[in-house]
Amino acid sequence: MSIKKTTLTFAAASFAASLMATSAMAADTIKIAFIDPLSGPFASTGSNGLREWKFAVEDLVNSRGGLLGGKKIEVIAFDNKISPKETLIQLKNAIGQGIQYVAQGNSSGVANALTSAIKKHNKRNPDKRVIHLNYAAVDPALTNAKCSYWHFRFDANVDMKMNAITDTIAGRKDIKKVYIIGQDYSFGKAVSAAAVKFLKEKRPDIQIVGNELHPIGKVKDFTPYVTKIKAAGANAIITGNWGGDMLNLAKAATSVGLDSSFFTYYAAGAGITAALGPVAKDKVFNVGEGHANPTVTKTWDDYQSRFKAKHPKKDVTYGRVPYTVRMFAKAVTKAGSAKPIDVARALEGMELTTMAGDKVKMRAEDHQLIMPIQVSVHTDDRIKFDYDNSGWGLRTISSTPAESNALPTTCKMERPKG
């Protein structure tokens, strides 16, 4: 009995070893390595991203004849298990296959590891340079103190998003007391700092009645926290919580009868919208881009419909992926080459009108995309594209124009000479 089972483990071992030998294929495509978590607890955000990248590339570029006279874009997935270490191993793997573009977004920690590794790699191997297309990591440092020429961010950073949130709050005269709560790590802290700063500028009359951090992923029951929030009499809560911490916070708030507004970064999609359901109606606001509802233009409506037709069980959770792909394609076309250095030059300062009609621009100074940002509300009213097939989704209530989101940067970029 035991011998049989052991032979089985052996077979697995030799299988794994044989996989080592797979070599890079040499098709004439422009390859983008998609490095994000595809297994483990954060796999759903990663696999959503991969699905949306693959769809956007297929739908917007490859099915329309490709680039540079017929070259297709190929998205190759690498699982980094949201670990910085695994990310660097997979980066080596990708570079070994001759890939020069890396798309990544989940976790600022990983983004930082990747960007600093790419910076060193490009310096040490000028003939095999790599560009980092960041589609979701929002730490302001990546386009400020830690900015790099090889890093392009297509998502609005924490400060820009907070700018949009506080614009909305500034317009709501009923909000007098704000409570800030977040996960105790760099992102939670960045949200808190930005909230304090912008509220002071825009609504000095608002009282911040609480500003607190809790350990990330360790709080099982948020009731004690929301009891405190309720006791403090807050009309609005600002939080950067995501995943279970976001869901449980909102659920606990409802259970004690707290009906203040929640201003959040990540309270939609990946099961959260469905789980929130009616309890969060008109109470949970989410900041971001995307125009899920209303779709504004027919082009954008059609794109979402095509996506839903192909993936009926899934949603467009990253509204920025399509314009990231389009901007990349535009840069390759403009540069007339797929060489990273040329594409990087073309990307700097590039402008684009998104399918939803927003005008966005890649700022050359820090490689931060400057774009309009929307605040949307969790509702079931006039929702065409819902999340999790739940009938609930996001509806845009306000949009902050691009120019007011062009916050100053401290980036001093080291530019390549050759």
């Binding site: 032979t7 089985l8 697995a12 690498f78 910085p84 270490k85 080596k92 920690g109 760099s186 350990p215």
Partner: protein, 431 residues
């Protein structure tokens, strides 16, 4: 009398020579390995990762295999070694201290040793469950604080550095992957040799005695607590060294080096490889690292396979993969492998059937569960499979059940042949 002493000296000399030759062979293999990679950086990176994990899991086995202490918090020493090495690396860059980068692991080892002595001073009073629980508590505490104390741990971003700075030794600045490989290989060699020698010292041997029978060890005059503390500090030292190599290789250290996944990895590696043998953790480290870095690019459910392999190993192979290999040692020595291989060949087919059946069912199920509409064709074992039809399900269930039944029928005869040949081989050895 004198002949006896001579014989003993003779035997020792022979053993010494054998061992010396083995270590030279290890050094040669480590040195020549990159020649087979054809310049692939990925293969180098994976090898470096394996090297690091070899040190870490060997250190872990100083506790589990040699000392009988089950720890759920080894990441503390690995991670702290890594973080402090990284701060040291930055000090080297800022010219506040002078140290060639190649010697940085000494810093990590020192940190691991000091931490091991401090934490071991109270946690090694008892072995068994109490020890396991203290290690779990400390592991959780340190992992959680790493996100709270941003100044030291760098928060989510971690701490980065540049390994190419500092005084150069022999004109090597570690800019290329190959140089890093040789650095790690050298440290793997040194650490493995030291841990091997430790297991041969009286204290190392006493660790086994304390594991098996603490009271009796006390009667011989060894304080069980002292012996455990020594093992624990040693494990801390080498874990810290491995953490330091992590800092040099990736030039970034983040909270992942301190979390529960990092604490669990050496346990999995040691159990799969075999805790009872010195080379068990080495085999486990190679196997597990290959699974996690290579297999994960081919299937999203690789962790499921790791789980299945892990559980099956514990259930049916308590001595791990190494135990399975060493089972055949006397047979190989007696040159009787030829007799047993045909029997293995006969059972190989049904076993491959079971393997393909399980993998096939899991992969098809996973695909059908997650596929987009209308996209029902997946590529499995280099063949297109239509997951919407019943055909693949029937096929894989068929080969699974068929393989299982065939294997069950043949297993007794395989076991019998093994016993027979094994007995003969041992008997032959005695003569």
């Amino acid at each position: 009398m004198s002949t006896l002493t001579d014989m003993r000296r003779d035997m020792n000399a022979r053993m010494f020579k054998q061992q010396r030759n083995m270590w030279i062979a290890v050094a040669l293999v480590l040195g020549c390995l990159p020649l087979f990679y054809g310049g692939s950086d990925f293969a180098l990176t994976v090898s470096i990762q394996i090297g690091m994990m070899i040190i870490f899991s060997l250190a872990y086995n100083m506790l589990l295999g040699q000392g009988g202490m089950l720890s759920f918090g080894m990441a503390v020493y690995f991670g702290m070694g890594g973080f402090l090495s990284m701060h040291f690396m930055n000090m080297i860059e800022a010219d506040t201290v002078w140290l060639p980068m190649a010697l940085l692991p000494v810093v990590g080892a020192f940190i691991g040793l000091v931490l091991g002595l401090i934490i071991g001073s109270f946690s090694t009073r008892k072995a068994g469950t109490i020890f396991a629980m203290i290690s779990l508590g400390i592991g959780e505490l340190v992992a959680a604080s790493s996100l709270i104390f941003v100044k030291f741990f760098g928060g989510e971003e971690g701490v980065t550095g540049d390994r190419t700075m500092g005084p150069e030794m022999f004109g090597v600045d570690f800019a290329s992957e190959l140089e890093v490989y040789y650095l790690v290989a050298a440290w793997v060699f040194i650490a493995t040799l030291l841990m091997f020698l430790f297991s041969r010292t009286p204290v190392g041997r006493m660790a086994n005695a304390v594991r098996d029978n603490p009271e009796r060890a006390e009667f011989v005059g060894y304080s069980q607590r002292f012996v455990r503390l020594i093992s624990f500090a040693g494990a801390g030292l080498f874990s810290g060294l491995a953490g330091s190599l992590f800092a040099i290789t990736y030039e970034i250290v983040t909270e992942e080096t301190l979390n529960a996944v990092t604490s669990g990895a050496p346990l999995i590696m040691v159990m799969i490889g075999g805790a009872g043998y010195f080379i068990g953790p080495i085999i486990g480290a190679i196997f597990y690292t290959l699974l996690s870095t290579v297999l994960s690019n081919y299937t999203e459910i690789w962790l499921m396979y790791v789980g299945i392999i892990f559980v099956l190993t514990i259930m049916y192979l308590p001595a791990g993969l190494t135990g399975l290999l060493l089972m055949h040692n006397p047979i190989i020595k007696a040159k009787k492998l030829k007799r047993i291989l045909p029997v293995y060949g006969k059972i190989a087919l049904p076993v491959i059937g079971i393997f393909l059946g399980i993998v096939g069912l899991l992969e098809v199920g996973h695909y059908a569960h997650n596929a987009s509409a209308g996209d029902m064709t997946m590529s499995l074992f280099f063949v297109s499979v239509d997951t919407s039809s019943y055909l693949p399900w029937i096929f894989f269930t068929g080969i699974l059940v068929g393989g299982f039944m065939l294997a069950k029928k043949q297993a007794p005869s395989v076991a019998e042949t093994y016993e027979e040949v094994h007995k003969e081989a041992l008997g032959g050895g005695d003569k």
